[in-house]
Symmetry: C2
Subunit: 155 residues, 2 copies
DNA sequence: TTCCGTGCAAATCTTTTGCACGGTC
DNA sequence: GACCGTGCAAAAGATTTGCACGGAA
């Protein structure tokens, strides 16, 4: 699965887009320009975006995609577990790509300015994983949000 | 603050309603029947409810409260930290009362039937608390949701 | 040629707001 | 009597759906 690509790819060897395209094809989807644009945008993010932010970013990049398509695309990507929803407690849901080997992360949200930052912590993951074995639920995902005031807002 | 009440109260000596009424009065609020009904309902729950569920429960209990009031009341209670929002990743936000001495809890959500169950875990809280000291945010709250398939749905 | 992906517009659903009345203080 | 809490109706905002067209297979 992790075959070498063209020699100059560098930076992220993750191949999330390739994995996504393959999964979509396997699920019987044809290609489409709007979805490709959304995939590329999500792939370039370091943290979660809302549907509206995705629409705006794409418009700025001169590759307009209708809001309805953004939602439909995100819905399908979520179903295939290629993106995950992030509930930050702000009106809108956020979405971000799911990485396989990258450490997965959670979110810090500033109640004041709304900024969302990723973080990860091994001890926390271990606690969650141990816990997951003891609850009356077959756990498939978990989500953690820490809320507070960021440094800029505190200043 | 924890004066003895009438001798037959028993069961939960928590006094959340009393604390809430006091906090509301201190914040300059007058009393109101709708709010009292919402307080009593929330006090009787063991887990989080949505605004619509609250409205429905109260209608069933023959104490109708308009949806707008439910939202306004919840908003104020949240501001006073008497209730907290719970984002379960289902369309609607849930609310539950905040207890002072009771251990605080988090939530298990079944993706299949939507049931929401509370749980708590010391190791998890310790991991969160240690982590909270290391992130670039003055953490005031945290929320954890485990998602998966409950036993009934798996059966 | 068949069917899916996409855009547009309308519908739906949750939550918020404006306004008037009645109760609390 | 002054002002706040509440209900009702309308508004606002996010997300979903219906339909028709154009592009992918």
């Amino acid at each position: 699965m992790s075959a070498a690509h063209s020699p100059s790819v560098a930076i992220r060897e993750d191949g999330w887009i390739e994995r996504a395209e393959a999964a979509l094809a396997a699920a019987g989807h044809k290609r489409g320009g709007a979805r490709r644009a959304v995939l590329e945008l999500l792939d370039a993010q370091r943290c979660a975006l809302t549907a509206v932010e995705i629409e705006d970013e794409l418009r700025l990049a001169e590759r307009r995609v209708s809001r309805a398509s953004v939602y439909r695309i995100l819905e399908e990507l979520e179903r295939l577990r290629l993106v995950q929803r992030v509930e930050t407690g702000q009106a809108m849901v956020r979405y971000e790509r799911v990485c396989e080997h990258d450490e997965h992360h959670h979110h810090l949200v500033c109640d004041c300015c709304g900024i969302v930052m990723p973080f990860s912590d091994d001890a926390l993951e271990q606690a969650i994983s141990s816990l997951s074995r003891r609850v009356p639920l077959t756990v498939s995902e978990h989500e953690i949000v820490l809320r507070g005031e960021c440094r800029d807002c505190a200043a």
